[in-house]
């Protein structure tokens, strides 16, 4: 697929990670409104992940350039997304708290250039595991929370700030209470840093108590989990839950099924943003084939357009 074809289909290019565009059929929206109190109405969100502001050295000599490019691309999106979700590792940690704070400030300076002002964040281990989330809370508030937007329930989960890669019993209890307020049909988007399933444990691609989280979510019919951490695209299903990973904006990791070594993919000066990517998820009715189309721009930035996500809203049951 050529770039102009991608642009024609998507209507724009997107930097960073994932765009989910939610649309529902009238019948589905009406039924969801009756069941959930508020009908989901069309909107889009962008997910950005793993910007690692402050990271230096191989394999990526570009620093924040990919993040800054993503900001520019998002600012060119039409229509403009309602929300931006950052799924962790906003910064690269430092043993010097003052230096880490400086990196967090740099992250905010770049992110503040986004014209989308409604932004939500969860921490990655590089943001919050060394200080228990102190710096993150100073900048963004609590590390886990929930909110509603246009009929969709969003849940931010922190699976890093306890040092161990876990959500922990207190947050798990909070999650169960939070979910109990919603009917099983409610559209739910969970965003977090690490995968909630065992993707590859010896690469640290898991959450220790991820099973407890997915068990709590299992009774709900329409759950999407957005996460980062693995610096590559991945789609996975556990029960009725769909999990989607976003690319990083610093360097990519290889396919764990193809190699035993967890080493960053090499930097390619000819295509400086290769393996960083653009991933766009577009909602679509289930009658449209669930395919992914890929486009690569001149810098190597990859854009993937798919229709994952919307089937969570507009299942045949609702039509």
């Amino acid at each position: 697929m050529k770039r102009r074809d991608f642009l024609k289909i998507s209507g724009t290019a997107l930097g960073g990670a994932a765009l989910l565009r939610f649309t529902t059929t009238t019948a589905a929206a009406s039924l969801l409104a009756k069941k959930n109190g508020e009908a989901p109405t069309p909107f889009s969100i962008v997910q950005l992940s793993d910007t690692h502001v402050g990271f230096q050295g191989p394999p990526d000599p570009l620093g924040t350039k990919a993040f800054e490019r993503a900001v520019d691309l998002i600012n060119d999106l039409h229509p403009r997304p309602d929300l931006i979700l950052f799924t962790g590792d906003l910064t690269h940690d430092s043993d010097d708290p003052a230096e880490h704070a400086k990196r967090m400030k740099s992250f905010r300076t770049i992110a503040d250039r986004l014209r989308v002002k409604t932004r939500y964040h969860v921490p990655g281990e590089h943001d919050a595991a060394l200080d228990g989330g102190v710096l993150f809370r100073e900048n963004f508030g609590e590390t886990h929370y929930s909110f509603d937007h246009r009929g969709v329930h969003f849940i931010a989960l922190d699976n890093v700030s306890l040092g161990k890669p876990i959500v922990g019993p207190a947050q798990l209890a909070w999650l169960k209470n939070d979910l109990a307020r919603y009917p099983k049909t409610a559209p739910i988007i969970v965003f977090t840093h690490r995968p909630l399933f065992d993707l590859r444990t010896d690469w640290e691609w898991f959450t220790g108590d991820g099973d407890a989280v997915t068990n709590a979510l299992a009774p709900y019919d329409n759950v999407t989990v957005l996460y980062g951490h693995i610096h590559r695209v991945d789609h996975h299903t556990t029960g009725k839950i769909q999990h989607h990973a976003a690319r990083s904006l610093i360097f990519g990791f290889p396919d764990p099924a193809a190699t035993a070594d967890k080493k960053p993919l090499p930097f390619d000066a000819a295509e400086p943003f290769r393996n960083l990517g653009i991933r766009q998820l577009r909602g679509a009715p289930p009658s449209i084939d669930d395919v992914e189309l890929t486009s690569v721009d001149d810098s190597g930035l990859t854009a993937i357009l798919g229709n994952n996500g919307i089937q969570q809203f507009a299942k045949g049951d609702f039509a």
Partner: protein, 107 residues
Amino acid sequence: MSYLLPFLLALLQLQAAPSVVEISAKRFEFTPKEIHLRAGEPVTIRLIATDRAHGLLIKDLGLDLDADVDHPDSATITPAHPGKYAAICDHYCGSGHGNMRMTFIVE
């Protein structure tokens, strides 16, 4: 001969007790980097952290230790199947944490 009884009992207890393997952890390395175990034989793994909190995790062997300075942790496992098992530190300890690993070889 009765004077030998306590000695023989102590010897039996010694034989029944699992062997102990100590692993030392500091940012961002384990020592030793490789240990060899026998399938079907119980072994106690003892993790000692020398600079800050560290973990030692091998999900496939059911081993999940957390140690801090002056607070070692240990568990006894009986590896069932021969193989090579990667162990990781699962308590985030800094930017080199992702490469803090060692290998258990079960023969």
